[in-house]
Structures are given as C-alpha cells and as structure tokens.
Symmetry: C2
Subunit: 144 residues, 2 copies
DNA sequence: TTCTTATATAGGAATCATTCTTATTTGTCA
DNA sequence: TGACAAATAAGAATGATTCCTATATAAGAA
C-alpha cells in the first residue's frame, strides 16, 4: 500500500473526504522533513494547484492534527510549524535560524512522567526540546 | 538585597537603563507564576502606568530574554508567553485551556544531550514539554 | 547640580499570522 | 445519476507583533 492509498484509508476511517487539496497537502508535508509552516506548504502546492487558498492549507493541517496524522511543533515563535513525523522523537531548535532537527533517544523516551503531573494531567505526549545554536550559525557569528 | 535592587544591579551589569517601565514589567512578570503573554502584562501594568505602550512591553520582555532574566515559553500557539522562573524546570501544557504548569525533576535534568546533537549544536537549554488535558478540562468534557 | 547624549518610550501605522464569512463546488453514497 | 453534507476559494476581519519617528529621560561628565 503506497502513501496515497494509505492516506485514503485514513480519511475513510476518520470519515473525512479525500479531496485533491488534502492529498496534495499531506504529500507536501510528508515530503518535507523540516517542520514547515502553512505558508511554505501553500507556496509548494501552489505551483501545481494555482487556486488553492491559504485558509485551506491551515484548515487542512489542523484537520490532520485532529485525526492524528500530524503534530504542531512546540516553538517560541509566532508561526505554527507542522510535523508529519509521528514516530516518538525529539527536537533541537536553532535559536538563530529557526532550524528544527529531529532526534531519537530511547533514554528520553523511557522517562517517566512524574506522579505529580499524572495526578493533574491526562498525558498525551512528552517531548524534549533542546535550544541552541547550529554549526552553520555559530560559524556565521565567527565570520563577522 | 531585595527584588528591585537586584534588578537594578542586573541592568547596570548589562549596560541597560533602569526605567520605571522596565522595573514595572519585571515586577509584574516575577509576580505571575503563570507564563503570561505580553498583553496580560500590559493590562496589569496599565492600571498604575496609564501611558505605557504595548510595544514597550514586548520590547522590554524580549530585552529580558536577551540579558537572561526571562525565557520565552515553548508553545504550539501563536502567542508568545514569558517565564521569569529561571530555575531549571519543565512544563506541562493543557491543550484545552492553555494552562502551563511548572514542574521539577532531577531525572529529567540529568538527561544527557545525545552526542549526535552536541556535535551539531551549541546547547543552551533543554526542556521537557508534556502535553495533555488538565483535570478541570477533563471534568468539563464529562459534564457535557 | 546642570549639561549632554545615547537610549528608551509612546502612539500610531504597518506587517505578519490566522481565522471567519459566505457563495460556490465537489466527494460520497444511495 | 442525483442529493446533500462537507469542503473550498476569496477576501474580509481579527489578533499578535514589529516598525517608525518625534519626544522624553537615565546616567555619566563637567
Ligand atoms: Mn519532528
Ligand atoms: Mn515555567
Ligand atoms: Zn542555525
Ligand atoms: Zn485545561
């Protein structure tokens, strides 16, 4: 079963329609491993889909989050960024250029949520976020 | 040395002026343990400081981040939230009401950043973010 | 204390991100 | 092949943040 077939299946299961827009947005999101914004997805799709509206992109991405095939990434910024990588993983953010890198760590995954929190929250997700400056940006700083 | 004296000292060290606006904003941020937005700080200060501008609040909060006396909180949302709690700690977010709870965990703090990331990033900060639904919001759901 | 000047602020306009409204179109299923 | 609920396009509206610039002021020098 290829990507598109599996997407159709998920839509069926969730009772939402398989539209060309949704398919294109899903495709674009899966293709990019770099946590794109709605605007970036919009621009990417526009080439082959000149009448698509930015609103549809936002709406669709949030639909994907609701049905569990995408995540909104935690950021300090004012722009939502989306992630189609649904494996358990963690993020390293560059505070200069905004790049977000995925990484995997069994140690991190196995951390227990403290009892104190489990008493007060129904936990759905747990993620480690690392802030720093990437190599490229450090280099740029030195060059000045 | 009280809060205001220590704030004056930090400003001196960082070479920025001690203005009544900055003092009031710092005070308001320290008073709130609930990760307020710039708008909330603005409204709180406005009472005693009727001419303060929202722009000053934003600018000042970002100055505090730059000189290391505040953090921008990681969120999925489109509004910046600020944190004057500079101790090492972690966050639990309620996805329904947006509440952000601090928590402390030596286990979390002691996690090593993977070599893979240290090779590519100068790490400045590491934080665990837990997503879930708080008690109050779960209750509300049931009541419907 | 007074003067000087680099910084900071107020206020409003501008910009960017996101959501809403409504008329139209289109998957889906009988 | 319809019927109809759901989805989309387009543009307006809203919300968050930043920019512009004239004015005010903190802080060090005299
Ligand atoms: Mn990711
Ligand atoms: Mn906190
Ligand atoms: Zn970078
Ligand atoms: Zn809640």
């Amino acid at each position: 079963m290829n990507r598109i077939e599996s997407f159709r299946k998920i839509c069926k299961e969730q009772g939402i329609k398989v539209t060309p827009q949704r398919t294109a947005i899903f495709d674009a999101l899966e293709d990019s491993r770099d946590h794109p914004t709605a605007e970036i997805i919009f621009q990417a799709i526009r080439k082959r889909f000149p009448t698509i509206s930015l609103d549809t992109v936002y709406r669709t991405l949030m639909t994907f989050v609701k049905i569990g095939i995408a995540h909104v990434v935690e950021t300090q910024g004012n722009t939502k960024r989306f992630d189609a990588n649904m494996e358990i993983h963690h993020h390293a953010h560059c505070l200069k250029c905004g790049k977000i890198l995925d990484f995997y760590s069994a140690d991190y995954d196995n951390l227990e949520v403290p009892q104190e929190i489990r008493n007060q929250f129904t936990v759905m997700d747990k993620k480690v976020v690392i802030h720093g400056v990437c190599k490229k940006c450090s280099q740029k700083q030195k060059d000045l």
